[in-house]
Amino acid sequence: MTQSMHEYPISASGLSKRFGAVEAVRRVDLEVAPGRALGLLGPNGAGKSTTLSMLMGLMRPDAGEARIFGHPAGSPAARAVTGATPQATGFPDQVSPREILAYAAARYGATPDVDAMAERFGLGALIDRRVAGFSGGEMRRVALALAFVGAPKLVFLDEPTAGLDADAQEAFRETARAYVAEGGALVLTSHQWDEIEAISDAIALIDRGETVLHGDVDAFRARARVSRLSFALPDGAAPPGWMGAVRESERWRMETADSDAALRRLVEEGTPFADLSLEPLSLKDLIARVREEETNR
């Protein structure tokens, strides 16, 4: 147990998995440090779920190895410090969230304050009702609470907010950020870029079974120092040609590595812009740009 202090929550190298003729995952390397959140991104069928299953120890890799705080993935020591969401469709109908939470807590040997958890995950009125008849969003809240009930040091979240309403999504993001801020490690998959962006500080992009990009979001931002400049123009006016701006509904926008220079020139030339905004690139556009750079290199 002492060694776990110095080990990363996740260090996986060369993970490979084949299903018949299909190589679902090929030599995937991943690392997650304490107090960090990794977003696993990729199109459907890219190998995210297979990778997650191997990290959780539910599936044995054909090659490579995954270690959780230095212990083999799926080993008792690894499972003791890991939490995960069940797929929201799979609860036995006959039990209440309180009963499932108590069950999971007992498996961890934890004694959580179930009422506080119910509050935090929006289960207040649902906590003693049997889950039969719960909506998808209500099931999802139970699933999220279950991932955290054992006070784990590492949490796996597969599509954590699918089916949640906007308030519940925001509440969950708050919880996830607080967990990471307190030193917890998090791995999440999502199809929603804004969710990954709101929670993760590192990402791994998986495509056709391979990690095509893996690193800190800040590092990507530093590499592609690009911001998006957008503004409105009076009817009939066009932006100067040097900008290469494109029209997007009522506004014009351009992406630039040197927004200061672009802005100065716009002012000097007396361009009649209005309602100007300057924003960093969204994660999705940032990743697209970094990938483009890598393939052109």
Binding site: G57, S75, R79, P86, G90, A106, Y108, G150
Partner: protein, 246 residues
């Protein structure tokens, strides 16, 4: 590793399993009534005195095998592929707890089912046993239930969910017949009688008949039953290891 912690986890496992089952009366009511009904139709008519006692013992073993093997063992094939079971495998704790919980649940339902057979026998026939015979019969019933549940778990761990029920039928019904639970062993054709000697159901039957006839148990039958239970446990453990990397 075996600490208050581990006991708490086992208790939680049993509580969850029993809650889920008991809250499905549509599942457990027919389950516990079935052997008594079958006994009323086919067992209670087999005469009086020792005949009646032996028939009751046979149907009590049949109840133990049916409920244990079928409903608590083989059903693991369906449960194993559910997303909830997948998540359970990601939790800390010993895997064997889930088997223990299944066996505990099976024992509870077997006791109810067997008690109903006994009540039916007392009402419909002139069966009368002394306390020692009832105790010994109960012991056989519980042993049989544990062995049958383990055999069911082994089968359920080996085959796919869709194949499990069909294969279970192919094993369970012949085993009941071969064990002499429906037709007494001496009335069997020679070849069948020879095979019968090696079946777990025959061992259960012999132990149960010895109990109601106030004869001593033969060690051979106890060993045969134990061997089947151990083999089933080993097979289930091996099947389990396939799906679990560590």
């Amino acid at each position: 590793m075996t600490s208050p912690n581990a006991m708490g986890a086992l208790k939680a496992e049993c509580a969850l399993t029993l809650r889920i089952l008991f809250r499905q009366p549509a599942f457990w009511v027919p389950t516990v009534l079935f052997p008594a009904m079958l006994y009323a139709f086919f067992g209670a008519q087999s005469g009086g005195g020792q005949w009646a006692a032996n028939a009751m013992a046979s149907f009590i073993v049949y109840a133990a095998v049916g409920v244990g093997f079928y409903l608590f063992g083989v059903s693991i094939a369906q449960d194993r592929v559910s997303p909830f079971a997948t998540w359970q495998r990601s939790l800390p704790g010993r895997f064997v707890d889930q088997w223990i919980a299944r066996i505990v649940a099976a024992l509870i339902f077997v006791v109810i089912a067997a008690a109903l057979v006994a009540v039916m026998a007392l009402v419909m026939t002139d069966v009368s046993l002394n306390a020692a015979a009832w105790v010994r019969l109960s012991v056989v019933c519980l042993l049989s239930a544990v062995a049958a549940t383990l055999m069911g778990i082994a089968l359920g761990s080996l085959v796919s969910a869709s194949a499990s029920v069909a294969i279970a039928n192919l094993i369970y019904l012949p085993l009941a017949y071969l064990g002499g639970l429906w037709v007494p062993p001496f009335a069997m054709p020679e070849v069948i009688a020879a095979i019968s000697e090696w079946t777990p159901t025959r061992a259960m039957g012999e132990l149960a008949w010895a109990a109601v006839e106030a004869r001593a148990w033969e060690v051979d039958h106890l060993i045969l039953l134990l061997a089947w239970a151990l083999a089933a446990g080993a097979l289930a453990a091996a099947a389990q290891r396939r799906t679990r990397p560590a």
